[in-house]
């Protein structure tokens, strides 16, 4: 089982690593442009690959419906505020202007965004957005239909395939493919491509939650920053990696849905029965997510917990709708309540903070990941990124839009790139030896134990409470874990996948530590809460950009979000 051995050599125009919404839209556009496309994903079926393979119920987009507010330009005006200033506006503009067209493309794939009862679009306004930009819909088959269209268009798909390395032409520095292996059979893939798109999602399994089960996470636990890590290793720049995201969730099960409760008119109450959110934000339960976290943290610290969601005052028709749609985002949430013996009409639901992840720090249109230009190209030539692993993350709609943009750009690049370098056997062999080394280590360090240590360090010092000494302690711990990576052992190909996920998680946690220490302010509420620097400072409206240094460790620079040039650190940081 652990022998593997067979090696498949493949060639394509556009190679896409990750078959979620971003990768699938990229594939669709690149095929439309006439290019050969190959998609890799760790999941077996493209129809179920990615974070919304099981369904989704909201889609954020301007629709150009004729209403004055309903345009990309109007939404764009608000993006500097939405992102607390930390976004590349040119990239955001490309994404937002693409959105209405992508919506039409998705409808062309057979996705019905209309409410089945009324036959109309059901649009809601939420959380300070300047209009009713959220489309509520039954997206149980959303990803399924996208995948069907992508396959019908002629893209090739290889499932259960984990990419491990991006191939770089030593003469030109351009990306030209990737290596990977099948997580069941150990078959090897050596893929040469004229352009490579990374669409591997955010970084999960990085912190603890109430159940203590690492795969019980709000976001998809099989997204572990593999694309961040692979691209970092070949010199791509990352940014906004200091920001974390958490949500409020029923105690014991980290799931989507906080905003459904809040949007419906749920009351958040403490153990005294007090609606506590108004103490922290005049918008009460409808404050932005990061404020809901702040409120939960403050009440819990003040000894006012447990904290609850109370739905009992809501009218029957609202509760009926709520119960009907409870399982759209996560099939099993109604089962959880049933098995726990909770009746939403009668019982309070205890809520807790979820684990944190590195995603977009709780705000739309800002991503934590690979820096890209308005075509989605990273700082490495011919290497593109889209979705939650990129600098612009706007939920599935943002992923679809930047996916489409990068798909077209990568296709155009591939069309003019004639020569592809050969991959020499010696370098394939040395990569295989490195990747498979854990298979020969018998009773070495297990990935579970290794990851548990990362989660403890991140939860204690790099999550919702940050302070310099604690963060330095965590960084030291993460560096010590890094030195132990050569001890990691795997007993089969499946575990080898987990081992490599664990090393991606550790690298992202190290980058998180370094950048969170660097940012000497607080910004975006719970996303970066420095108790030693509690204020938000205009001098810090700058991106911290990370790149691999000559010795392999992350090197930081500061960038003005608006003009892509490097800037000097604020005075307080200039030491010695």
């Amino acid at each position: 089982m652990t022998e593997g051995g067979t090696l498949r050599r493949l060639e394509t125009d556009v190679l896409i690593i990750g078959g979620g919404v971003a990768g699938s839209l990229a594939a669709h556009e690149a095929r439309e442009a006439g290019r050969e496309v190959l998609i890799l994903d760790k999941a077996k079926l493209l129809e179920r690959a990615g974070s919304v393979g099981g369904g989704v119920d909201q889609y954020l987009t301007p629709m150009d419906s004729g209403a004055e507010w309903d345009t990309p330009s109007n939404l764009l005006l608000h993006i500097p505020t939405l992102t607390d200033g930390l976004v590349d506006m040119e990239v955001a503009a490309r994404v937002v202007h693409e959105m209405p067209e992508v919506l039409r493309r998705l409808e062309g794939m057979g996705i019905d965004f209309k409410d089945p009862d009324t036959g109309e679009y059901l649009r809601t306004r939420a959380f300070g957005l300047p209009g009713e930009f959220h489309l509520n819909f039954d997206g149980k088959r959303f990803k399924y239909r996208i995948a069907k269209a992508v396959k019908k268009g002629g893209s090739r798909f290889i499932g259960r395939a984990m990419a491990t390395d991006i191939l770089i032409d030593p003469d030109t520095g351009e990306a030209f493919g990737a290596l990977g292996f099948n997580v069941r059979t150990g078959e090897w893939y050596v893929i040469r491509a004229r352009a490579v798109i990374v669409a591997t999602g955010e970084v999960n399994r990085i912190a603890r939650n109430a159940s203590g089960l690492p795969f019980d996470s709000w976001h998809y636990p099989y997204n572990t920053g593999d694309g961040h890590a692979m691209a970092f290793r070949v010199g791509a720049e990352l940014t906004n990696m200091e920001f974390v995201e958490a949500t409020l969730t029923p105690r014991g099960f980290s799931v989507q849905g906080t905003n459904s409760y809040a949007g419906l008119g749920a009351h958040f109450v403490n153990r005294h029965g007090e609606r506590y959110m108004f103490k922290y934000d005049p918008k009460g339960e409808k404050a932005r997510r990061t404020m809901l976290i702040e409120g939960w943290v403050a009440e819990t610290r003040a000894g006012n917990g447990p904290l609850y969601i109370d739905l009992r005052h809501l009218p029957d028709n609202v509760l009926d709708h709520f119960e009907r749609t409870l399982g759209v985002d996560r099939e099993t949430l109604p089962d959880f309540f049933a098995q726990k013996g909770i009746d939403l009409r009668r019982d309070l639901i205890e809520i807790v903070v979820s684990e944190v992840s590195i995603r977009r720090g709780g705000v739309y249109f800002r991503g934590s990941g690979l820096m890209v230009d308005p075509d989605g190209e990273t700082s490495v030539a011919n290497l593109y990124a889209a979705g939650d692993c990129s600098i612009v993350s706007g939920g599935i709609a943002g992923a679809a839009a930047l996916g489409a943009v990068t798909g077209r750009a990568a296709a155009a690049r591939a069309a003019v790139r004639e020569r592809l370098p050969e991959v020499d056997d010696a370098s394939i062999e040395s990569a295989r030896e490195r990747v498979t080394a854990p298979l020969g280590r018998g009773d070495g360090l297990g990935w579970r134990e290794f990851e548990d240590e990362i989660r403890s360090l991140v939860t204690d010092h790099l999550g919702l409470t940050r302070e310099e000494r604690g963060m330095r302690r965590a960084l030291d711990g993460l560096l010590a874990l890094g030195r132990r990576e050569p001890e990691l052992a795997a007993s089969n190909w499946h575990h080898l996948m987990r081992v490599h996920e664990s090393t991606s998680i550790r690298l992202c946690a190290e980058i998180l530590a370094r950048t969170a220490i660097e940012r000497q302010e607080s910004r975006s509420g719970a996303a970066h809460r420095r108790v030693d620097f509690p204020e938000t400072s205009e001098a810090w409206r700058r991106l911290i950009v990370v790149k691999r240094g000559d010795d392999g460790s992350p090197v930081l620079r500061h960038r003005d979000p608006d003009d892509r040039t490097s800037v000097a650190p604020p005075a307080a940081l200039v030491r010695g």
Partner: protein, 123 residues
């Protein structure tokens, strides 16, 4: 004539921590030994039996389940039930620990207007 016996096989991979809860309950009465649950699982957790056999699928990596329920949703004979463990249904860990370590010299958290600022995120 009696149906052949189809034992439910809890055979997690030997590296799985002991006493790991099995999240995916397969009904031996209704499972038709197809491959759908294996194929839809995004975490490579469920291993279908040899299609020529009459065996039940094996939940090989039970501790890596996301509790997404794709298997339960896709099973053509409704033979799968996702079963939550006690650790999730009756979580008792101190949730204060999830907030992180606050050094004693810092009394609490200061919320500023900037925090309330932009717009949030749904999902």
């Amino acid at each position: 004539m009696a149906e052949p016996v189809r034992p439910v096989r809890h055979e997690p991979h030997p590296d799985t921590p002991r006493d790991t809860h099995n999240p995916i309950d397969v009904d031996p009465e209704t499972c038709i030994s197809c491959v759908v649950c294996d194929y839809v699982c995004p975490g490579d957790i469920i291993y279908a039996p040899d299609p020529t056999s009459n065996d039940l699928p094996v939940i090989k990596y039970p501790d890596e389940c996301w509790y997404c329920g794709l298997c339960q949703q896709a099973c053509p004979t409704d033979a799968i039930t996702v079963v939550f463990p006690e650790r999730m249904l009756a979580s008792t860990s101190p949730v204060e620990a999830l907030i992180g370590v606050l050094p004693p010299e810092y009394g609490g958290i200061t919320v500023t207007d900037a925090d309330r600022g932009g717009a949030g995120d749904r999902g």
